[in-house]
C-alpha cells in the first residue's frame, strides 16, 4: 500500500489559498477551520403524503481540505442526499452546510449555481453525459456556463480529456464509448473548471469491477496527482472494499444519520 500523508500535511491551508486565489474562488475562512466542507447539524426532510421522511437527520461532519472521504451506506441511508447538499444542488431543511467557509444555505440560487460551476465537480453513477453532444462538447459545457472566452476553451477541454486518456475520442458521442470511457469523460467534464472539490456519487456503480478499479485509480490520481494541487474528494459508494482501498476516511450512514466513522489514513 502506498504511504499516505495526512491531508493537512499534503495540502496545507496556505497552499490551498494560493490555488484558490489563482482560480478566483472564495478562500477558506477562519470559521471553516481548514475544512473544505462542514455540515453543521444538517437535516433534510421530505414530506411524502402524510409521512415525514428524514433523509438526512441532524448530521455534523467535516471534510478536510485535500481529504478523500467515502460515504458508505445501504440504499436509502441518505448518502446521496448528503452529497447533493454538499454540492448545493439541494438545500438543508435545518442546519448549515459550509463549503470553503461559505454557508450554502445563505446563498442565492445564482450564487449556488456559481458555486457548483467553480468550486464543485460532480461525477454521477450514470455518467450524465448529454448524448447528442460529442465528448469535447460535453466537457466544454461547464466552461460555457462559466463564460470562459471561446479562444481559451479548446486547450482546456483538450487538457481535461488528455488527463483522463480520451484525447483521441474527443469527437465521439457518448453512445460510441464504453461505460468506463463515459465515466472518464464525465470526470474530465467535472475537472475542466479546476474545482477544489470533487463529489462522486457511486462512480463505479454502473461499471464492471475491472473498469471500476480503473476509475478509482483515476480518482485517486486526481486526489493526489504526481504534480500540481490535489483535490478534496467525497465519494458515495456501497462498495466497502473500494472505499477502504482509496479513501482517507469512511463515514457510514444509516437512516440519515452517521452510524460509524473510521479514519483509515
Amino acid at each position: 500500500m502506498r504511504k499516505r500523508n495526512s491531508p493537512s500535511a499534503k495540502f496545507p491551508v496556505k497552499d490551498l489559498r494560493v490555488t484558490l486565489r489563482s482560480m478566483n474562488v472564495p478562500e477558506m475562512t477562519a470559521s471553516s477551520n481548514g475544512f473544505a466542507i462542514r455540515a453543521d447539524r444538517v437535516s433534510r426532510r421530505y414530506k411524502m403524503g402524510d409521512a415525514l421522511i428524514r433523509a438526512v437527520d441532524d448530521i455534523c461532519l467535516q471534510v478536510g481540505a485535500g481529504e478523500f472521504l467515502a460515504l458508505l451506506g445501504a440504499s436509502g441511508s441518505g448518502k446521496s442526499t448528503l452529497l447533493n447538499l454538499m454540492a448545493g444542488l439541494d438545500r438543508p431543511s435545518a442546519g448549515s452546510m459550509f463549503a470553503l467557509g461559505r454557508d450554502l444555505a445563505k446563498m442565492s440560487s445564482q450564487e449556488l449555481a456559481t458555486h457548483r460551476n467553480r468550486t464543485i465537480g460532480m461525477v454521477f453513477q450514470s455518467f450524465q453525459l448529454l448524448p447528442r453532444m460529442t465528448l469535447e462538447e460535453n466537457v466544454e459545457l461547464p466552461l460555457r456556463l462559466a463564460e470562459v472566452p471561446r479562444a481559451e476553451r479548446p486547450a482546456r477541454v483538450q487538457a481535461a480529456l488528455e488527463r483522463v486518456g480520451l484525447a483521441a475520442r474527443s469527437k465521439h458521442r457518448p453512445t460510441e464509448l464504453s461505460g468506463g470511457e463515459q465515466q472518464r469523460a464525465a470526470i474530465a467534464r467535472a475537472l475542466v473548471n479546476q474545482p477544489m472539490i470533487l463529489l462522486a456519487d457511486e462512480p463505479t456503480g454502473n461499471l464492471d469491477s475491472k473498469t471500476g478499479e480503473e476509475i478509482m485509480k483515476l480518482i485517486a490520481e486526481i486526489h493526489r496527482p504526481a504534480a500540481g494541487p490535489g483535490r478534496t474528494i467525497v465519494m458515495v459508494t456501497h462498495e466497502r472494499a473500494l472505499a477502504e482501498r482509496y479513501a482517507d476516511r469512511i463515514v457510514t450512514l444509516s437512516d440519515g444519520a452517521i452510524s460509524n466513522e473510521e479514519r483509515l489514513r
Binding site: 447533493n84 439541494d90 457548483r116 450524465q128 460555457r144 456556463l145
Partner: protein, 473 residues
C-alpha cells in the same frame, strides 16, 4: 451564459427534434404569412385608392369662392367652408387682384378661374347637351389624362377639345369606337355674354346694343360693369383626345366632372354665361368691376393644401378642399388595416400555442439534461434564457419564412386578380404591396409572440428541482 453560447445551444437543441420543431416553426410561418398577406393587400388597396385619388387631382385643389355672408352691395357668394366659421376676416371681392394675391401664396402652382357651363355639342346628325369645362395646361402632366387616346391641346389658344369617353360614345354611331372622334370637328352651341354699350352709346344709338348688336363685340371690363345681354353663339372645336370610359377606371378630372374639356384660355374668351353672372349684374351696379364666380387653386402637393386653404380663408374668401375627406380616408384605412392585422394575427396566436406545446414537451424530454446543466453550474436564469432562446430562434426563423410565404401569397393574389380583371376587359391595378416596415414589423412581431409563448415553458424549466431532474428516467 453568453448570447452566442445560448443561441448555439438553442439551435443545437432545436435540430435534435427537427421534425417537431420544423412543424412548430412552420406554424409560426403560416401565421406570419397570413398577417403579411392580409396587410400587404390592405396597404396595396390603400395605395391604389391614394393613386386613383391623386390622379383625379381632387386632393391638390382648393376651390375659392367669395364669402356668402358678404355685406350687402359687395361682390360675394358661394358657401363657407367649416374652416371659415370662426374666421372673422372681412369678406373680399374675388377679382383679378385677389387672383394674383392667391397665385403669390407659397406652394401654389396655378390659379385659374372656374369656367363651367352647359352647351350643346353637335356632330351631324347627332347633338347632345354636355357640361363643358376649361382645362388648365397643367392637367397635361397631372396624370388625369392617363389612358387617353390622342394628345393634349397643341396650345393654350387652340380651338381643340378633349372628350370624356362616356360622352364621346353618345356622338358616334353604334359599333363605332369613341376614339374614332379624334381628329374630327364638333360644333358647340352656347349662351354668350355680350356687354351692353355704355349709356352714352345707348343714348346715341337707341336701344341697348347687347340685345340687338353683333356677337363678340369687344367691350372693356369697365363698360361690361354696366350689364350684358345673352345671345346664342357657336364655335367649332377639333377633337384631339378621348379619355377612357368611366368603367375602365378614369373619367373624373379635378373638381369638374365634365363631358368635354377645352383650353381654359379659350373657355374664358368664349364669355359664356354662367350662373354667377346674374348675381354679378346686380353687384356690378356698385361699380366694383369684374370678378370671378370661383377660382381653382392647384397646390404643388396635397400636403400643402391645408396651409393654402387656411391662408385663403384669412384673406377673406371661402376656401374648400377635400383634405378632410382625405383624412377620413386615412382613418378608414387605418381601421381596415387594424382589422386585417387582427385576423392575420389569429393564425399567429394559434401558432404560439404550438410553441408552448413544443417547449413543454421539450422540458419533459430534456428533464435530465436540465438537471445536468444545473449540476454543472447553470443558474435558473441560464435555463430560462436557453428556452427563451429556443422560442426566439423558432420565432425568428418562422418570421423570416412567413414573410417569404406571405410575399408569395400576395403575389399569387395579385396575379389572380390581374388575370381575372383582364378577362373582364378591365384595367389591372396593383392591389398588393409589401413595404419594408411590414417585413421588419412581421419578423419582430413573430419574435415577440414567440418569446411571450416561451415565458411559461422557460419558467417551468428554470424551476425544475435539479435533484429530481437528475433522477428522472
Amino acid at each position: 451564459m453568453k448570447l452566442g453560447d445560448l443561441t448555439d445551444l438553442a439551435s443545437r437543441n432545436l435540430r435534435e427534434s427537427v421534425l417537431r420543431n420544423s412543424l412548430t416553426t412552420l406554424g409560426i410561418a403560416v401565421g406570419v404569412a397570413s398577417l403579411v398577406a392580409l396587410l400587404s393587400l390592405g396597404v396595396g388597396l390603400q395605395q391604389l385608392v391614394n393613386r386613383s385619388v391623386a390622379r383625379t387631382g381632387l386632393f391638390d385643389m382648393v376651390s375659392v369662392r367669395p364669402r356668402q355672408n358678404v355685406p350687402f352691395g359687395q361682390p360675394g357668394g358661394g358657401r363657407r367652408s367649416p374652416r371659415d366659421a370662426a374666421d372673422l376676416t372681412p369678406a373680399r371681392a374675388l377679382d383679378e387682384a385677389a387672383r394674383k394675391e392667391i397665385a403669390a401664396l407659397p406652394d401654389v402652382l396655378e390659379v385659374n378661374p372656374e369656367v363651367r357651363f352647359t352647351a350643346e355639342a353637335r356632330r351631324e346628325p347627332r347633338s347632345q347637351l354636355v357640361m363643358v369645362s376649361g382645362m388648365p395646361p397643367s392637367s397635361e402632366s397631372s396624370g388625369n389624362l392617363d389612358g387617353m387616346t390622342g394628345h393634349f391641346f397643341s396650345g393654350p389658344d387652340a380651338d381643340e377639345a378633349i372628350l370624356q369617353g362616356d360622352f364621346a360614345k353618345l356622338l358616334v354611331d353604334a359599333g363605332q369606337a369613341p376614339a374614332s372622334l379624334v381628329g374630327q370637328e364638333i360644333s358647340l352651341r352656347f349662351a354668350q355674354r355680350q356687354a351692353l354699350p355704355p349709356p352714352s352709346a345707348q343714348t346715341a344709338s337707341g336701344p341697348p346694343a347687347g340685345r340687338a348688336g353683333p356677337p363678340n363685340q369687344e367691350v372693356s371690363p369697365d363698360e361690361e360693369a354696366l350689364g350684358f345681354s345673352i345671345v346664342p353663339s357657336e364655335k367649332k372645336f377639333r377633337v384631339v383626345g378621348v379619355t377612357p370610359t368611366s368603367n375602365s377606371g378614369s373619367g373624373q378630372i379635378g373638381f369638374s366632372n365634365a363631358g368635354m374639356y377645352v383650353p381654359i384660355a379659350i373657355a374664358e374668351k368664349m364669355q359664356v354665361v354662367q350662373g354667377a353672372d346674374l348675381r354679378g349684374v346686380a353687384q356690378s351696379a356698385s361699380g366694383e368691376g369684374e370678378h370671378y364666380a370661383a377660382l381653382d387653386v392647384r397646390a404643388t402637393s396635397p400636403t400643402a393644401v391645408a396651409q393654402i386653404e387656411s391662408s385663403i380663408s384669412q384673406m377673406g374668401f371661402a376656401a374648400f378642399s377635400l383634405i378632410d375627406v382625405a383624412r377620413n380616408l386615412r382613418t378608414f384605412f387605418a381601421i381596415f388595416d387594424l382589422f386585417l392585422a387582427i385576423f392575420g394575427s389569429l393564425a399567429l396566436a394559434v401558432a404560439s400555442l404550438g410553441i408552448i406545446n413544443t417547449l413543454v414537451m421539450a422540458i419533459l424530454e430534456r428533464r435530465r439534461e436540465i438537471g445536468v446543466l444545473k449540476a454543472l453550474g447553470a443558474a435558473d436564469r441560464d435555463v430560462r434564457q436557453l428556452f427563451f432562446a429556443e422560442a426566439g430562434v423558432m420565432g425568428f426563423a418562422g418570421g423570416l419564412l412567413g414573410v417569404l410565404l406571405g410575399w408569395g401569397i400576395g403575389r399569387a393574389i395579385q396575379f389572380a386578380t390581374v388575370f381575372y380583371l383582364k378577362r373582364q376587359g378591365m384595367n389591372s391595378p396593383n392591389i398588393w404591396s409589401v413595404p419594408w416596415w411590414l417585413v421588419l414589423g412581421a419578423i419582430v412581431f413573430a419574435l415577440i409572440v414567440s418569446l411571450a409563448s416561451g415565458i411559461y415553458p422557460a419558467s417551468r424549466a428554470a424551476r425544475l428541482d435539479p435533484v429530481e431532474a437528475l433522477r428522472y428516467e
